[in-house]
Symmetry: C2
Subunit: 371 residues, 2 copies
């Protein structure tokens, strides 16, 4: 193996590749990145067996590399990333010295590394099953921003650690819930699309951060995995195979009160009280009437009292308590200057919405408090 490659292009590909590296992999070779060097392509492969990433660099658009000798090798991901990041040169040369000992050099720097043979790396099945369809990258980013935070971070019900994507009749319904709150987004899609899958949020996050700012990505889905195809890369993650709960009936329709406030006012007030915690949780009580919302929070050390103006109010004055953090997350996800909270009873979940965009609904369960 002997090739010279642009530092920038290699570093971009490596930064993508390391997203699939787990520090706790039981298989030593999976802590490495596999490089397949061919005359006219350089392929980087990484996987933690749940998420796998393949990037194929070519010289089609511009001269990225020159290959003197073909070959395959597996290089420790931390070492190759540090070396390529730190070499002070536009081009970096890799060459085999002897078996798995390789030399990497550029500028005034030279590194020798003991690597692993490509044969030790497991075969990763990158077959793309299912018909690929195009999806706007921007829209994909929005969906993740608006839903993924609401997933459960506990393994007690594994299906809730994922974001559910269900396409039918020209609509894509995206839902995430930890059973105390629900983030729900609906967008229009092609009428032919028909699937119901749940993607682990931790891998969805890796995909999110790997995506470039291309206008569109291609997505292909089969029963076991989802493929994201963009630029010169293919990312595949496994799906959760349990059935996602039917959350459509959770959203209340019989709304008794509806209050609209400036998002900024409510966020600032909640932020000021956020340090008042009991058992690690910041619980706020909202007392709502046609003029104002009083926000109180207390624990054994102290209490806080905030007061914000209401823009509009329908219904009877009342009180409800909930997690301050969940309310902050929901307002941020809804993302607009004004935010509307709608209630159907003191002990029933309430919804957080935005007048201008009805595609996104955040649902929060109240907390019972004792005076």
């Amino acid at each position: 193996m002997n090739f010279k490659i642009s530092k920038k292009e290699l570093l971009d590909a490596l930064n993508k590749a390391v997203r699939a590296i787990s520090t706790t992999t039981p298989l030593p070779s999976l802590s490495g990145i596999k490089l397949e060097i061919k005359k006219d392509s350089i392929t980087l492969i990484s996987s933690d067996s749940n998420i796998s990433i393949k990037t194929v660099l070519t010289n089609n658009d511009k001269e990225v590399f020159t290959v003197q000798e073909e070959g395959d090798i597996v290089i420790d991901s931390r070492y190759i990333l540090e070396i390529v990041r730190k070499i002070d040169s536009d081009a970096i040369t890799f060459e085999t010295i002897d078996g798995t000992l390789i030399r990497i050099y550029g500028g005034n720097s030279e590194f020798k590394l003991n690597c692993m043979r490509a044969e030790e790396y497991p075969e990763i099945n990158f077959a793309v099953n299912g018909e690929p369809f195009k999806f706007e990258t921007e829209k994909f980013f929005d969906i993740i921003d608006e839903t993924a935070f609401a997933c459960s971070d506990k393994d007690t019900r594994p299906i809730l650690t994922g974001v559910n994507f269900k396409a039918e009749d020209g609509k894509l319904y995206v839902n995430a819930t930890d059973s105390y709150r629900l983030a729900s987004k609906t967008v229009d899609v092609d009428k032919d699309l028909d699937f119901n899958i749940t993607i682990p949020s931790v891998y969805l996050n890796d995909v999110y951060h790997s995506l470039s700012l291309e206008k569109e990505i291609e997505i292909a889905i089969d029963n076991q995995k989802i493929s994201f195809i963009f630029d010169d890369s293919l990312i595949q993650t496994r799906l959760l195979d349990d059935i996602f709960p039917d959350v459509s009936k959770l959203i209340p329709t019989n709304l008794l009160q509806k209050v609209t406030v400036k998002s900024r006012d409510l966020l600032n007030a909640l932020d000021r009280t956020s340090f008042i915690k009991s058992d690690g949780k910041n619980i706020v009580k909202l007392s709502i009437n046609e003029k104002e919302i009083d926000i109180t929070s207390s624990n054994q050390i102290g209490s806080s009292y905030e007061n914000i103006d209401v823009i509009s109010f329908e219904g009877q004055p009342f009180e409800i308590s909930c997690s301050g953090k969940y309310l902050v997350d929901a307002i941020k996800a809804v993302g607009s200057d004004e935010v509307t909270l709608s209630f159907s009873g003191e002990l029933k979940p309430f919804i957080v919405t935005n007048k201008e965009d009805d595609s996104i609904i955040q649902l929060i369960s109240p907390v019972r408090t004792y005076k």
Copy 2:
């Protein structure tokens, strides 16, 4: 107790005060800040019994506060800092509701806090013994930057966790060592000064970050403690009472080789190899001749080779190994465009200096390596 105070001035004083708060204090009241409210002064006191800080706010220069009712109270340091930081108002009012329950309000926010009685706070002796002398703040900052990093972070020899300040015959000798390296600084001071003290580096760091940018501070020293007086604050820290080793004889005078390079070149080369570690340490071997320094570093996974140009060289070519991190720290402390390394043998400590400023010397012990 009832007073109204400028948020900015109070926040500045609180940020200073929390530097003396330890999270692991055995005495509950020491997790609080003591406030003494008098008609014409507001005093903040904090201490972890090793370092103590007192700040006295007055209305002498400008109107900072108005006091309706005098009183003393001890407020949990985290809560008061969060509350004052977050209240959205230029002025904040504190008032006693009932016993130790106080109300803090400003803007649209109101907090109630359960505090501690001032009687529960231990008596802190802030008496300043010893004749105070003035010291340039800038010079004090430089001294700390150039020496304190070299202190030991282990408790095996407690005296080495401090920076030694010894004044005699118009010179102040400042030394810090972990027994593998030594940072040594000498500055001119008033001839009358005569002391030999060792200040724990952790408290010196607190003092460093509390100092304002006034031109001068006042310092007073007695056998047990050192006082720093500036602005409206007094900081006292205890001294280490063991005898600091005599390090003056460690600095070699019989220099066989002397090499000068660009600091930036050497720092960059060392940075590139810094990830190659054995047992958590990055050991570099320097091979020096009249033209260049070769820097090699290796462990079981790989090796690096760097090469930098020499500006000047005296003596015979030779090799020496040392901690890459210690060398980086020393070059940064010496702080100049060019740096000179002077050697007196392969297994003897070598010195790192800067042609333009002979007040600062860094000494590093070599490491024995096996090929």
